[in-house]
Amino acid sequence: MIVSEQLVSNLFYGALLGSVYGVATMGLSLIFGVLRIVNVGHGAFIMLGAFTAFWMFTLYSVIPILSIPIALIFGLALGFIIFFSTIKRLIDAPELSTLLATFAIGIFIEEVAKFVWGSDYVGFSWDIGTLYLGPVTVPYTKLLAFLCSAIIAGLLYVWFTKTKLGTAIRAVVEDREGAMVCGINVGRIYSVSFAIGIGLTVLSGVLVTLFVPVGINVYMGPDYTLKAFVIAVLGGLGSPWGAFVAGFLFGLFENGSYTLLGLIPGVEPFALTRFVAFVFLLIILLIKPTGLLGGE
């Protein structure tokens, strides 16, 4: 009885966290889909978003929800700067060049952050009460994070399907030369998509702060990079919607298996959770090699 209650509670928690994973992966998928660039430094941008939320809260008492637009604007600006300074020159270069470049950018951001902020764990606590729902106890902040993730994903969906620029981005994803013969300025689509991808990623860092019990640190990124890669592949690389759905499932799975693995004597559930998550990925890819929502 206790176990099932704990499982329900953890699954609920996993669903909330999963939605944040989803938003944290959409930017990676978007950038890959449009530019065919794998952003190896992905996690560093999540870290920047987390620190945005931290400093806004500690210095100016701005609650994380209000830091979301600030992080988005910061991320968009950063995305444009990185695009025009680095990525633009590498678009037609071999994959290894862009891998190394994004890897270097990630390390650069981390080290500058360490220089400025130090490498200690920091945190803040934003308490607006807790929801008690049967076996489930959830702080309202996490529910808000879920709500924000769902709204952001929804807005993005509408923007991609209903606006001219969003449709043009989808067109470039589907066929680059096809988009060119329609008169779409593909270079502009690259810069806008890269900026939006980075903007979303920095933004997701704000949401992540509502789920980290031990606080944040300038080296928190790589862990999220790894998870984002798994989620992106699971969702079908290049599909932001697939990434969102996959993030959700990944959160459920990670937290569900955590509870169940904890029952096995002698097992350290945290370490094994990641193993199980990768097995889950393998099984999905065996059944559908293009990922959940991936194209042909």
């Binding site: 067109a171 096809g178 270079g187």
Partner: protein, 234 residues
């Protein structure tokens, strides 16, 4: 309308075009013929800007457009129907067409253009909600041509529009090209289908090894020994 002088281009280190000279007059159909690997596709891609010209000049309506990027060329009235169609497969027929009218100039004419496309290809109208990727090969080719028309072009470059189609559909494609000329468009066509394309052309160029080896009116080309020699058995 279109002048190409001493155009040289290629891929990476490999030069494919060794000085192409050609001219396309307004409201005509001009065909580029030639064996595989003679540089037909590269010529169209270099004129449109998908391949960067190495040397030479491309002029459109007396403006130098040699290094103008593709999207700007669409804006001034040039488009390309790519070999292999390059549609947006998961989008509907209508979404594909609307994307054709992406430039501001084309967007203003969108409603008229859609009417024109649907009157040319009633089958596209029937299938306008269907995803482009689920259309038959012939319908996809119609959609590729339709999408090009949506850009409100003056000059359409067409790269092997009849490729991979059944004979009946090939005839339909050539009829379409003729109708487009009647609508006042100018067409530069690359084709493997020598005799069918000469049927509907006004002027033709024959390429060999990245150079123009022969040019002339359709009758001159048809009767030339070189073409007969080159295409015997095709």
């Amino acid at each position: 309308m279109l002048f190409v002088r001493d155009l040289e281009s290629g891929y990476g280190e490999m030069q494919v075009l060794w000085g192409i000279n050609l001219e396309v007059n307004e409201k005509t159909v001009t065909t580029i013929l030639g064996p595989n690997g003679s540089g037909k596709t590269t010529t169209l891609r270099s004129i449109f800007g998908l391949n960067r010209p190495w040397r030479g000049v491309v002029e459109f309506d007396r403006i130098d457009v040699t290094y103008m990027p593709p999207h700007a060329k669409v804006e001034i009235g040039i488009t390309l129907v790519l070999e292999g169609r390059h549609l947006f497969p998961s989008m509907s027929v209508e979404e594909n067409l609307r994307l054709g009218a992406y430039t501001r100039r084309a967007e203003e004419k969108m409603d008229d253009s859609i009417d024109l496309v649907y009157s040319l290809f009633p089958r596209l109208k029937e299938r306008r909600e269907q995803k482009a990727g689920t259309l038959s090969g012939g319908e996809q080719q119609m959609l590729a041509i339709g999408r090009a028309l949506m850009t409100a072009p003056k000059l359409i470059l067409m790269d092997e529009p009849s490729q991979g189609l059944a004979p009946k559909l090939v005839a339909e494609v050539f009829e379409t090209v003729e109708r487009l000329r009647e609508e006042g468009l100018t067409i530069l066509l690359v084709e493997q289908n020598v005799y069918a394309s000469l049927e509907i052309s006004d002027y033709a160029y024959v390429l060999g090894d990245g150079k123009v080896v022969l040019e002339g009116t359709v009758d001159e080309i048809r009767d030339s020994e070189e073409v007969k020699k080159a295409y015997v058995g095709i």
